[in-house]
């Protein structure tokens, strides 16, 4: 039977297998497995809450460092100036009236209505069902429209050939990249690298929809804001203390 498998049989067998997988596994929760077997759904929306009052400048630097170590960016030899990839960076904001300066970590805000997805000509720029905004680099042609569209300047373009990438984060010349909320860890029930690195009160990661999650409960209690809330993008990353 195997020797005569043609395209149509292949489609038949695979759809049967995936159907049976779906029925068997539907009653089992993610936490019982280390590795995710089912497609993500919109029952969850991943988000992050950053309390800038609890973050020192060194904390933010160490978040950037954690991201570089986890995802393997920052070692590009030939990229200069703003060619250098920046998945997360430290931003200083100043209140013009009072002169109060706050520092905050800025990365992809994982919008509900992401402008980068609207402008992408190949569907590479995408929003996963669970709210994580990603570049499907397999489809990315490197046009960089998404970089222009992003109000947070959160995306970068790889300008040079790379080797020794991280196994879980393939990266290559000619494609756009940005914060993935450490999707490879989140899918296996872990937290993003930058969140793990800092004080657990300062940066909270979790499911915005889940009333039992720490992030949902904290957002109900305290005053928080979205950066450029005026754009109505409904970001997944929220800030308090600014």
């Amino acid at each position: 039977m195997h020797n005569k498998l043609n395209r149509r049989d292949f489609i038949k067998t695979t759809s049967i297998t995936s159907l049976s997988v779906a029925t068997i596994a539907s009653g089992i929760t993610l936490t019982t497995f280390a590795q995710r077997k089912n497609p993500v759904t919109n029952a969850k929306r991943w988000g992050m809450l950053v309390d800038t009052n609890k973050l020192t400048e060194t904390d933010i630097d160490s978040m950037v460092d954690a991201c570089q170590k986890e995802q393997g960016w920052g070692g590009e030899k030939y990229s200069i100036g703003n060619q250098k990839p920046t998945w997360i960076r430290k931003l200083k904001v100043k209140d013009k009236a009072t002169g109060k300066i706050s520092n905050l970590p800025l990365m992809c805000q994982h919008c509900e209505h992401p402008p980068c997805v609207d402008v992408c000509p190949t569907n590479a720029s995408m929003r996963r069902e669970d709210g994580i905004v990603l570049v499907d680099k397999h489809l990315c042609i490197g046009c960089r429209y998404c970089m222009m569209a992003c109000p947070y300047d959160a995306r970068s373009f790889v300008h040079e050939n790379l080797t020794e990438q991280k196994e879980h984060m393939p990266r290559g010349k000619g494609t756009v990249e940005s914060c993935t909320l450490c999707v490879h860890k989140v899918d296996n029930g872990e937290q993003p690298a930058c969140v793990v690195r800092v004080n657990s009160e300062a940066v909270i990661f979790g499911d915005l929809y889940d009333p039992n999650s720490k992030i949902n409960q904290t957002l109900k209690k305290i005053q928080s804001t979205q950066i450029r809330a005026d754009l109505n993008l409904n970001t997944g990353v929220r800030y308090s203390g600014i």
Partner: protein
């Protein structure tokens, strides 16, 4: 429609010939499995013919839907099919000329760009085998 069986037969022939000449490149981990008398892929002719489809299917499932099982994952192909240089104890790149993901492709003039982004050697401490 008659050209399809012919193309298929040709490919089958080409891949089989390629296999016959280059058994040595199978990869350390895969060779160990083979030596123990076990099989990893249910059918060799299936994986030979269908691995492009399997890989592309898995690619979309993982990067767009978050499915992260080991089956047909590219990381895992690399893990099993990479060879170590016995002298230096370093891995050869799996797509280097003469290595597993390259011998057949050279014969049938296929070039793949996957390893421009994907790591072509197992990373340190990797143990993904299923």
């Amino acid at each position: 429609m008659y050209h399809w069986p012919i193309i298929f037969l040709n490919l089958l022939l080409a891949t089989t010939l390629a296999y016959a000449t280059e058994q040595t490149s199978l990869g350390d981990e895969a060779r160990m499995i083979q030596a123990s008398g076990k099989k990893h892929h249910g059918s060799e002719s299936l994986i030979r013919k269908m691995h492009p489809e399997f890989l592309l299917h898995k690619r979309d499932r993982t990067s767009r839907e978050g499915v992260r099982t080991k089956k047909h994952s590219l990381k895992n192909c690399v893990y099993c099919h990479a060879n170590k240089d016995k002298k230096t104890n370093q891995y050869y790149s799996v797509n280097k000329s003469g290595q597993f993901c390259s011998v057949c492709h050279q014969k049938v003039s296929v070039s793949i760009d996957c390893f421009a982004c994907h790591r072509n050697t197992p990373s340190k401490g990797a143990n993904n085998a299923q």
